[in-house]
């Protein structure tokens, strides 16, 4: 079946290949290590040299330095540019204030801008990603760069599109920023964490832009976007306290119909309304508290009602305590441990009442139903005991 010659040839062939591979590996390793060592030393020297230059520039101690003069000292090698930008970016993470602004002036210098612009127009994805990361820190992008970034942000490559969308957030034109965000959120492969990251970049945090950002976020909620993404948007609105949007969120919650896909979104709306302290929503949220809706939604409802506070909401939670499943029970008990002592008083009166009702139970009528009820009460009391202990140890610590 097998031909002897072929067998011999393949054995010899493979052995030769193996030997060559072995020596190639050794040679390659040796060479790359030498090269790596060389570049490491070079970078170290480079960094030492430019570290003090850059800082002198940032601090503007005399003699006054000029950005052009510093950049002139960098050779035109690609490596030097990336070393320099890397150093600047690292310093940018540590420094703040006027020094940081000066660093940013260096980063934004036209020399680098044109260097990365070239990279952006290259074919390779790696170059494009590097360019996008650079432009994320820039402002006043030129139209040619913007146009290219928009094209890139439509890429099928998720990471590249993500990087480009982030870069587009430094555009001056508000509509470009907004439409880039919308375009990315409409994708099917966007992860929740990406949305959170993008929203934080989109929202510059400037007071004068706040209203515009709020309006834009509301607008996004009306677009055709997957509910799991809308969930992140409303959570962001709640967390960043977009009070002016609370009525809108309330109206949204009013009209939404439950479906399993929308569960996380509904939960997000309820949490956000709590964070925004929109107490008018309490009647509506109460309807989500009872059995029937899913557990995360009910947990959110408990949390929000407790944030709203007030005797009525708290009494409602207490009424639920002996009927609900464990996670909700736990949440309710812990909500009673937060805030003022009135809550503890309420809780204790609940315990007293329950004890009284147990005493009044007809013992002759002992059955399984009663048994499970007693188990539940026992669990609640131990929960209260544990939670009280936690509260105590926290106040002492």
């Amino acid at each position: 079946m097998f031909d002897f010659n072929i067998a011999l040839q393949s054995l010899i062939g493979l052995t030769v290949f193996l030997t060559l591979l072995f020596f190639f590996l050794l040679g390659y390793t040796f060479w790359t290590r030498k090269k790596q060592q060389y570049w490491e030393r070079y970078e170290q020297k480079f960094r030492n040299y430019f570290f003090s230059l850059i800082l002198d520039y940032a601090e503007q101690s005399d003699p006054k330095l000029n950005a052009d003069e510093i950049i002139k000292k960098i050779s035109k090698r690609t490596k030097d540019y990336s070393f320099f930008i890397k150093l600047l970016n690292e310093l940018d993470d540590i420094l703040d204030g006027t020094e940081r602004e000066r660093l940013n002036d260096l980063i934004k210098h036209p020399t680098f801008a044109s260097f990365y612009q070239k990279k952006l127009f290259q074919f390779s994805t790696d170059s494009k990603i590097y360019a996008c990361i650079y432009f994320q820190k820039r402002a006043h992008l030129e139209s040619r760069i913007l146009a290219k970034l928009i094209t890139v942000s439509k890429s099928k490559n998720l990471k590249l599109a993500f990087a480009a969308t982030k870069a587009l957030q430094s555009a001056d034109d508000w509509t470009i920023r907004k439409s880039a965000l919308l375009r990315f959120l409409k994708r099917k492969d966007t992860s929740e964490l990406m949305v959170a990251e993008l929203l934080h970049v989109f929202d510059s945090g400037l007071a004068e832009e706040r209203e515009r950002v709020g309006e834009a976020l509301k607008d996004l909620l009306l677009k055709k976007i997957d509910p799991y993404i809308k969930n992140v948007i409303v959570r962001y609105m709640g967390y960043q306290k977009f009070y002016e949007c609370s009525k809108f969120l309330y109206q949204y919650l009013k009209r939404i119909h439950y479906s399993p896909e929308k569960a996380s979104f509904i939960r997000g709306l309820i949490i956000a309304l709590g964070e925004l302290h929109y107490t008018e929503a309490s009647e509506l949220i109460k309807t989500y508290c009872g059995k029937g809706s899913n557990i995360p939604i009910r947990l959110a409802a408990v949390k929000t009602l407790s944030t709203f506070g007030g005797k009525e909401n708290m009494t409602l939670l207490l009424d639920h305590l002996s009927k609900v499943e464990f996670p909700i029970r736990k949440a309710i008990i812990y909500e009673f441990m937060t805030g003022d002592n009135n809550r503890i008083t309420l809780l204790i009166s609940f315990v007293r009442k329950t004890l009284q009702s147990i005493k009044n139970i007809d013992k002759s009528n002992y059955d399984d139903q009663l048994n499970s009820y007693l188990d539940k009460i026992l669990d609640i009391t131990s929960g209260i005991k544990i939670a009280l202990n936690h509260r105590l140890s926290k106040t002492y610590a």
Partner: protein, 468 residues
């Protein structure tokens, strides 16, 4: 005569074909993985999040540390866990009925006090005697429970954890400081990630000073060196390759991050198996594919976790025997997935591959070597063509695969501190194919036999501890 001739001919063709296929598949996996890894490494900066951590919308993590008789290491391990870079994480140490004072050491060192915790037993586990917390350090919880094995301890930890993600590790794993920030990248990059693992490397031989890995070298020990090659070939590039096809079947027990709710949904770790790490992953695949839910199980091709490998023959044999029993058990429990189109590529392609090549492979290997000996010793069967071909496709081809793996690691990561280390590894990639693989096949076959005999024990491993 003709019949028996064609029979032998068939056997020979089968053996040659088998060795050729398996080595080719591994070679393809490695080369594919290398290309993929380079791309991943270059692109990973685009999913490095910073704004995310300024919001509250990132995922919080609980690290679960099961500890059974780890008194020598436990304080060191937990101390190093306290230094990870991540904005919010908890550490839950589960003392699994240790008899060597592990618990007392923890209590003394962290100044723990008994603190009850109100939680629900969503997954069954052995009785919890007490829970402890520290007034100084709110991030640590210690659970003291009756002995029930690693899986059982992890289940208790999963119940107590309150975070979105859980991270299961071995008490003796050494983690890179940025491990959580790195691994969260998989969750940023892929939506609906339910599990993620990363590269596990051999710590033996590395220079550790002041709890910091200063230099990375190949181990001095013979067995550990062989395993270094093996870890690169199979556990680094092998898994990256599988990840490329979204077909990851193993996330090492030494380190893995899971979505807590997803793990609870499938019922937690299985306690009566020795391969609880593989089994959980297979069950996660099975559950999500069966219910048609979107999910991802991913591998991050960056070194994040270091583990001490066994350095003596017996420990290594027992470990591999156990791993193989674990694999057998997981495949056996989920045999319904085999060739079942509703389990998509996992049922049609990955499970069969693991069955025929990973699980039954060692037997074929042994048969091949046995046949070679027969051919060599019986003059009337002597067939030089077969012998040459066998040498070519099993030994030489195997060496090429191992060597390319070492080369790939060098191209992608340059982990080792000096040229000498790589030279040693290259030499050991020859040795790995001359002797080690054969013995390894025997251990695995023995494991398979033990599995059918119903042996479930873990086997002993001598640990040395890190303080050298």
């Amino acid at each position: 005569m003709l019949d028996s001739f064609s029979l032998f001919n068939f056997i020979e063709q089968f053996i040659i074909g088998y060795f050729f296929t398996i080595n080719t598949v591994y070679l393809a996996l490695i080369v594919g993985a290398l290309i993929y890894v380079r791309k991943q490494l270059l692109h990973s900066r685009s999913v490095e999040a910073d704004a995310l951590f300024k919001t509250e919308l990132f995922k919080s993590i609980s690290i679960l540390v099961p500890a059974y008789n780890e008194a020598d290491n436990i304080i060191e391990s937990v101390e190093s866990l306290l230094k990870l870079e991540y904005p919010e994480y908890q550490i839950i140490i589960v003392n699994d009925g240790s008899t060597d004072g592990t618990l007392q050491k923890l209590i003394d060192h962290f100044n723990l006090t008994k603190t009850d915790i109100y939680f629900e037993e969503q997954i069954k586990h052995e009785h919890i005697r007490n829970t402890y917390r520290s007034p100084d350090n709110p991030f640590i919880t210690v659970v003291d429970k009756e002995n029930g094995g690693k899986a059982d301890a992890l289940n208790a930890g999963i119940n107590i954890a309150e975070t979105e993600l859980i991270c299961s590790i071995d008490a003796d794993s050494i983690l890179e400081q940025n491990v959580l920030k790195k691994l969260i990248q998989t969750f940023i990059e892929h939506k609906n990630t339910v599990a993620a693992g990363g590269v596990v490397r051999v710590i033996n031989g590395c220079k550790i000073k002041n709890r910091e890995i200063k230099e990375i070298h190949v181990p001095k020990n013979f067995w550990a060196r062989l395993q270094s090659v093996e870890y690169i070939r199979a556990f680094l590039f092998g898994r990256v390759g599988w990840d490329y096809f979204k077909s990851l079947l193993i996330v090492s027990g030494a380190f893995g991050i899971f979505d807590r709710q997803a793990v609870i949904k499938v019922g937690g770790y299985l306690t009566n198996t020795v391969g609880e790490d593989i089994e959980l992953i297979v069950r996660l695949h099975s559950y999500h594919l069966r219910n048609n839910e979107d999910y991802q199980i991913r591998f991050l091709p960056e070194p994040i976790c270091w583990t001490e490998v066994p350095t003596d023959y017996t420990s290594l044999r027992n470990q591999r025997n156990r791993w193989h029993r674990g694999l057998a058990d997981s495949l056996w429990r989920h045999k319904y997935m085999l060739f079942n189109p509703s389990y998509k590529h996992i049922g049609m392609f990955v499970m069969p591959f693991f069955l025929f090549f990973e699980l039954l492979g060692p037997i074929v290997n042994l048969l091949g070597y046995a046949y070679l000996i027969i051919v060599l010793s019986l003059p009337n069967l002597f067939n030089l063509t077969f012998i040459l071909l066998f040498l070519a496709v099993s030994f030489i081809y195997g060496m090429i695969v191992s060597l390319i793996a070492v080369l790939a690691e060098e191209i992608a990561f340059k982990t080792y501190s000096s040229f000498k280390d790589v030279a040693i590894l290259s030499l050991y990639s020859f040795l790995e194919n001359l002797g080690y693989r054969q013995i390894h096949s025997w251990w695995q076959t023995k494991g398979l036999i033990d599995f059918f005999k119903g042996k479930k024990s873990w086997g002993k491993m001598i640990r040395k501890g890190f303080n050298e």
